[in-house]
């Protein structure tokens, strides 16, 4: 559940970012397409990183075993 919610948050952030980039750095249609590609790539990379780390911790096979110092 939290996974889906956060994925949707990433999607919304991506849409907002592409709109912002369109407003601030607008060029011709070809330049806009490039900016859109860059934003989408960045959002997809970031989401993948987060999703991998989140999924790996959902049902872990090992747990933290504290070392002597703590």
């Amino acid at each position: 559940m939290a996974f889906v919610v956060t994925t949707l948050i990433f999607g919304v952030v991506g849409i907002i970012a592409s709109l912002l980039v369109r407003i601030c750095f607008s060029g011709g249609p070809s330049a806009n397409l490039l900016h859109f590609t860059l934003v989408v790539t960045a959002v997809v990379c970031s989401w993948m990183m987060w999703a991998i780390v989140y999924l790996a911790q959902m049902k872990p096979l090992i747990v933290p075993i504290l070392s002597e110092g703590e």
């Binding site: 397409l33 860059l38 970031s46 990183m49 987060w50 991998i52 999924l55 090992i62 504290l66």
Partner: protein, 823 residues
């Protein structure tokens, strides 16, 4: 298909493919040629082809003008040299004078050079005389000391001579001479005991003395004294130490020998009068003359410096002018001089979007040179492949340079730089992830960007220049590093609880078995990133290793799939359905049925928490696919699915190997024997863009074995590469582990250790060592290391899926690029 229509209707993306280039031909009348080329140089959008490539530089038309320009630039370099030698600063005064023509400049430069050379030679002469007089003065000062005591020591010297004579009985000559001298004992000065006084470099004194001793067979007395001041050696313009010497000897032959030896050793001999009053008189005269010469020399130097300063005001402007003219003549040399038609023919590449600008510039040139005939400019068909031109702005150009460093894109093939802009900093960050270090990098990048205007006009060292050129790369790297640092939860290796509490807690209130069995997960995973409870625990490394290795595989498979999909778009753009059907499809199937399946298994294992051993699953998928999976079963239907995937992968290999060469052969025979209309629709290359027409002209042969071997190499490379490239992505894990461990070591073993002491000095030293270690090892070395490995991943693992990189870059004739080239 709807998708095809959608893709076709999209506007072409900036930077994705090279700008469309066209080959143009220019026919320029002679009177407007120079002006036309200058205007084109200012515009900077045409790359001229060298039509006289087979001629040597001396056979070309404008060789004289080029020589004149070279001569002028030599003179300008000479002036610059003189200015820097004189220690003056070359400052460029804003151009108050109007621009001058090249011929006038030539004459002016010749005049200035002549003047400067005269002044220099005059100073040379003066300085030489000055040196001689100085030496004479020193000889006078020191030698007078020897000669005063000479009178007192004459008797003892004679006795020394006696002894020498009797010991050298075999040397009859010398003995007889000395015996003669000894016959007249009463007049010591007239006894033939004469002297030579002079001055010699200190380094040669020992050898000089020995040589004299040998030549005169020991019958000489050598006195030396170090001169007070150092003298400027005219040849090496250094200050050398000199030694004043006086050699006492007797006999005429000894004298000639000594003088010759003096000459050989470069010792200067000066006559010193024995009379003390005369000595004083001469010393006074010499001092006076020295003072005169000094003032003259100073005046000469001041005059020269004034001339040099006035030159330095214009120097930069003149050098620029000469450089431009030389470039214009070099370009004119590339054109063909059509003597019968009194005009120059030129060929060049120019982007299609710039055609109107070029025509405008040519029209202006015609108008400005009041020529009657206009310049003809028309498009030609290209036989060879055009150069590649990407219009990158100063944000994307460092990424484009990174891609170009491996190979310039073929004309109109997909440019990996579009994705590299994001994925390169991202992969860097995966290996560097620490938001504390990321903030340090961000500060550095922001400093470079803030002082952009100031730093871009300065001349920087090569390291700073690279750093400054990559400031936007550094900015993106730092932003992604901060993001990945937040995900790995490392701030100088310290975890924080920014996104809420940890998902783990002790099993009971006493935390008694926290050190043996461990904590227990009691709620949803930590919402963003790695749970802070892992840091410092004994099972931290097994967990993180498993996480990071699987992450590397997932990221790697994703990037490689992206590469293969880009190759699909390339094949689509060049309308090569063979490449789509017999290269793209089998490649996608092969990669995904093996490593895509592995990625799927990883995700399923994470989602279900299964204890299946993925190594086991993958290996036995190949070794014994029909065996029961037992406890390695992750989902229903896994065994039949694995068999299907294995079969697909096995089919894909001959699919990508065999059909393409046979179909190419069939196409080739059909094109050149029969002209069947149906086949031409699926022509392999776009005839306008690809040099297939050239191939048809000079390459009638279709070498089947060559094509087959090429395809085999390509397939084997892909199949083996699928395994090795996937494994290569594990460096993402390796480097991030190294970074994290180094960071932990520096934090725990340096900072915490030092902070534990009560002593303030120890704390300070610990902090300093921690700061230095972080800055040099983590921030510099690790940055370079992660940069390099991210680069390798892009250049090899990503780009070998689709990139050819055998094009050449568009280098237009432009004055702006000249100033960076030379000097």
């Amino acid at each position: 298909m709807a998708i095809d229509e959608f893709l076709d209707n999209l506007p072409p993306m900036d930077l994705m493919r090279s700008e469309k280039m066209t080959l143009v031909q220019l026919i320029i009348p002679v009177e407007s040629a120079h002006r036309a080329i200058s205007y084109l140089g200012e515009l900077g959008l045409v790359q001229f082809r060298d039509l006289n490539a087979d001629k040597s530089p001396f056979q070309r038309t404008f060789v004289n003008q080029v020589k004149r320009c070279a001569e002028m630039s030599r003179k300008l370099r000479f002036f610059k040299d003189q200015i820097s030698k004189a220690g003056l600063l070359s400052s460029a005064r804003p151009a108050m004078q109007p621009d001058i023509e090249l011929e006038e400049l030539e004459i002016q430069l010749a005049d200035h050079e002549h003047e400067l050379n005269e002044m220099n030679s005059n100073s040379e002469n003066l300085r030489q005389s000055y040196n001689e007089l100085l030496e004479f003065k020193m000889v006078l000062q020191e030698a007078s000391g020897f000669l005063v005591s000479h009178d007192n020591h004459t008797v003892s010297e004679e006795r020394e001579l006696d002894e020498n004579v009797y010991s050298n009985n075999s040397y009859v000559e010398t003995a007889s001479l000395l015996e003669q001298d000894m016959m007249r004992p009463g007049r010591p000065d007239q006894s033939g005991l004469r002297f030579v006084s002079g001055i010699i470099c200190k380094s040669k004194v020992l050898r000089f003395e020995r040589m004299l001793f040998r030549a005169t067979r020991g019958n000489m007395l050598f006195n030396q004294a170090l001169a007070d001041e150092q003298i400027m050696d005219p040849l090496s313009t250094e200050m050398v130490e000199k030694v004043v010497f006086v050699v006492f000897f007797s006999g005429e032959q000894a004298r000639t020998k000594i003088l010759k030896i003096c000459e050989a050793f470069g010792a200067n001999c000066y006559p010193v009068p024995e009379d003390v009053t005369k000595q004083r008189q001469i010393t006074r005269e010499v001092s006076l003359r020295l003072a005169d010469l000094e003032t003259t020399l100073d005046a000469g130097i001041r005059h020269r410096n004034k001339a040099l300063t006035s030159l330095s005001f214009h120097l930069a402007k003149w050098m620029n002018m000469v450089r431009r003219e030389k470039a214009v003549y070099d370009t004119l040399n590339m054109l063909n001089f059509d003597v019968t038609k009194k005009c120059l023919l030129g060929e060049g590449w120019c982007p299609i979007f710039a055609k109107t600008k070029v025509q405008e510039a040519l029209q202006r040139a015609t108008f400005d040179s009041s020529s009657q005939v206009g310049i003809i400019f028309h498009v030609m068909d290209a036989i060879e492949s055009p150069p590649t031109y990407f219009r990158a702005n100063h944000f994307t150009s460092p990424f484009q340079e990174i891609v170009d460093a491996y190979g310039v894109a073929r004309y109109q093939e997909a440019n990996p730089a579009v994705y590299t802009v994001i994925t390169f900093p991202f992969l860097f960050a995966v290996m560097f992830g620490d938001w504390g270090h990321g903030i340090c990098l961000l500060l550095g990048a922001l400093v470079l960007i803030a002082r952009e205007s100031k730093l871009s006009s300065q001349k920087l060292g090569s390291f700073m220049e690279m750093l400054f050129g990559g400031r936007y790369v550094l900015l993106l790297m730092s932003l992604f590093s901060i993001y990945c640092g937040l995900i790995y939860n490392e701030f100088f290796s310290v975890p924080f609880h920014i996104f809420g509490g940890s998902a783990y807690k002790c099993r009971d209130a006493t935390c008694s078995d926290a050190h043996s069995v461990g904590l227990v997960k009691f709620r949803d995973p930590y919402p963003f990133g790695v749970d802070p409870s892992w840091r410092g625990s004994r099972s931290e490394l097994p967990f993180l290793n498993s996480l990071k290795m699987k992450m590397s595989i997932l990221l790697g498979v994703a990037q490689m799939n992206l590469g293969i999909i880009i190759s699909y778009f390339n094949a689509r753009f060049f309308a090569s359905s063979i490449d789509i059907r017999y290269q793209f499809v089998p490649q996608i199937i092969f990669l995904n049925s093996l490593f895509g399946y592995l990625s799927l298994l990883i995700i399923i294992k994470w989602c279900t928490g299964s204890q299946a051993d993925l190594y086991h699953v993958m290996i036995y998928m190949f070794l014994s696919p029909t065996d029961a999976l037992g406890e390695n079963q992750l989902f229903w239907g896994q065994r039949p699915l694995q068999i299907i995937l294995l079969v697909l992968a096995l089919i894909a290999v001959p699919w990508m190997l065999f059909p393409k060469p046979f179909i190419l052969k069939k196409l080739h025979t059909e094109r050149f024997q029969g002209r069947s209309y149906g086949i031409l629709n699926t022509s392999e290359m776009d005839l306008e863009v690809e040099p297939d027409s050239a191939r048809s002209q000079y390459h009638e042969e279709f070498n089947f074995s060559e094509v087959f071997v090429h395809q085999m190499i390509h397939s084997i490379e892909f199949v083996l590469g699928a395994v090795s490239n996937t494994a290569s992505y594990l460096r993402l894990w390796a480097l991030s582990l190294a970074h994290s461990e180094l960071s932990t070591v520096f934090y725990e073993k340096v900072l915490l250790l030092a902070w534990g002491y009560d002593n303030f000095a120890v704390k300070l030293i610990g902090l300093a060592v921690f700061a230095f270690a972080t800055a040099f090892i983590l921030l510099m070395m690790e940055t370079l290391s992660a940069f390099l490995h991210a680069l390798r991943l892009h250049w090899v693992e990503f780009q070998n899926k689709f990139y050819h990189g055998d094009g050449y870059k568009f280098k237009p004739f432009s004055f702006a690029s000249l100033t960076e080239d030379e000097d």
